[in-house]
């Protein structure tokens, strides 16, 4: 039995007690560092998006605007979804709809999708700066919606700004409150549809008639849900004309 008596304000601890504490501290230190490594390994995936924070670049293209899905900047190769600073959309960009513009912003990218966080107003360019042919090509290839039929999809409603790179992870339960704020701020809702093999597709969400919807979606944000609606291709993005009444919780499912 340990007969020592420890008094903390004495200069030194009794020998056996000090030995025990040293052993405990060494064991704790090793365990704690191991726990740090272990927890970093097992905590949920941090997302694969990239947000070029602090790098404001100029983007050039044709401003397209849809009342439900918000502004997009298109060029011959990319169809950028536009979002505003903070937790806000960039609906003011629609003032330049149909025009060739120069836009300062920060790139957000994930899974081949590209978004721009705008950093100022769009500057309408003189028609000579981007060839009329290029602008025409962009408009032709993206303006006509093509229906892909009514589909039941399983996945998660997210705000695209965080999901595609600003947050990492910008999805799931922990991000729910932030996503709700972003959607309330005017950022277009996106559905990340997942099939049973884990493949994903990204669809902008509108109401059944192509009208904007936000409030009806909020209670389902950040959870695994399923719903039904017409899928339409507009430009390089898919749009899901979702009937919010069909949304329900889903554990497993697929496209």
């Amino acid at each position: 039995m340990n007969d020592e008596f420890y008094i903390g304000y004495y200069p030194k601890a009794p020998a056996a007690t000090a030995r025990h504490v040293r052993r405990v501290v060494v064991a704790l230190a090793i365990s704690v560092v191991a726990a740090g490594v272990g927890l970093a390994l097992v905590l949920p995936y941090l997302g694969g998006g990239i947000f070029e924070f602090g790098q404001v670049r100029d983007f050039q293209g044709v401003m397209r605007c849809d009342a439900a899905t918000g502004p997009r900047l298109t060029d011959a190769e990319v169809d950028y979804l536009l979002v505003g600073p903070g937790k806000s959309g960039a609906i003011e960009m629609c003032g330049a709809a149909g025009q060739t513009v120069m836009l300062a912003g920060t790139l957000i990218t994930r899974d081949g999708r590209r978004l721009i966080e705008t950093a100022g107003p769009a500057r309408v360019l003189a028609s000579g700066l981007v060839s009329a042919a290029l602008a025409g090509e962009v408009m032709d290839s993206s303006a006509t919606p093509v229906s892909l039929g009514n589909l039941t999809l399983t996945g998660e409603i997210v705000d695209p700004k965080c999901y595609f790179g600003v947050m990492n992870p910008g999805e799931g339960r922990a991000h729910r409150a932030c996503a709700i704020l972003c959607l309330r701020g005017g950022i277009t809702p996106v559905f990340v549809a997942k099939d049973r093999a884990g493949a994903t597709a990204h669809l902008l969400i509108t109401g059944p008639r192509g009208e904007p919807i936000t409030e009806e979606l909020l209670r389902w944000v950040g959870e695994g849900v399923a719903g039904r609606g017409e899928v339409v291709r507009t430009g390089r993005w898919l749009t899901w004309r979702l009937d919010p009444g069909t949304l329900h919780l889903a554990v497993n499912g697929g496209l």
Partner: protein, 346 residues
Amino acid sequence: MSTGYAAVGWSRQKRIYDLTFGGVLLGYLAAFAGVSLALFPSATAETILIRAFGTAAFLLLHVILAIGPAARLDRRWLPLLYNRRHLGVTMFGLAAVHGLFSLVQFHALGVLDPFVSVLVSDGSFTRLETLPFQVFGLLALGILFLMAATSHDFWLNNLSAPVWKALHLMVYVAYGLIVVHVAFGVGQMAGGEWVLGGTALGAAALVTLHLMAARREAATDREATAQAGWVPVCGVDDIVDGRAKIVAAGGERVAVFRQGYTFSAVSNACQHQNGPLGEGRIVDGCITCPWHGYQYLPETGASPAPFTEKVCTFRLKVGGGQVWLDPRPLPPGTRVEPANANTGRP
């Protein structure tokens, strides 16, 4: 012990304690952040900080809650108990950084005030799946703040030990809230099974440790039957010189100390933090608390001058080789002549 207040009463051991603790904590944060960045180079600094500080706070809370029962079961853990408050205040600091970064990251720059948003944006109580886990975290942070803000002996003295102790027992409420915060937050995300498993394991370990300590203490809480107003404590030879036997009498624990052939009884609860005086020793003629070394004179229950702490004293008598206790407490600091085993009388 001291007669005045200082932010921290530094001593050699306290410096070693804090430096060691700080080093281990930095080691954890560096290991977590390093591995996270290696695995996810695109992760933002805010996210890494939120996770690193949150997990550090939760782990540290487990250590803090384990020290108490561990020290009751094995005295060699007492050095870790001595400055446990430093761990508690640091734990609040870690949790506050986690909370602050989360508030800014998830709730700032939106259409709602961040403090309103944290209360209304995160789900509802109508479904378990949408339990607002951030609200639970915020409530826990509030309790931890109260505890950190009142951790100094100034508050202990001014609130009184029982009130201070009750306030600080709310750490268990905070722990419960944090378990819900973790289980219904990150635990619900893809890959959160490990978090749920680890949280359950941690809770099980803490409950087991506390039950073991409680079981040991329960034995001392069995009250002996009083005979003509006197409660039998034990035989005179059952107490080692300089130590005590704890006896339950009149609904409270009393520490009966032996010093040579004399016996004295005081309340078992130290006035400082209600530490178990009966597990202490007589050092330099004073009953010395095993937790923080607070001292009391056996015959008066009062700390030696210039200190002012006092605990209740009790009358004792010795008869038939047995020590007997009058379970009626006397006002704190009341002088009682020690019972003498040779004469049987005070």
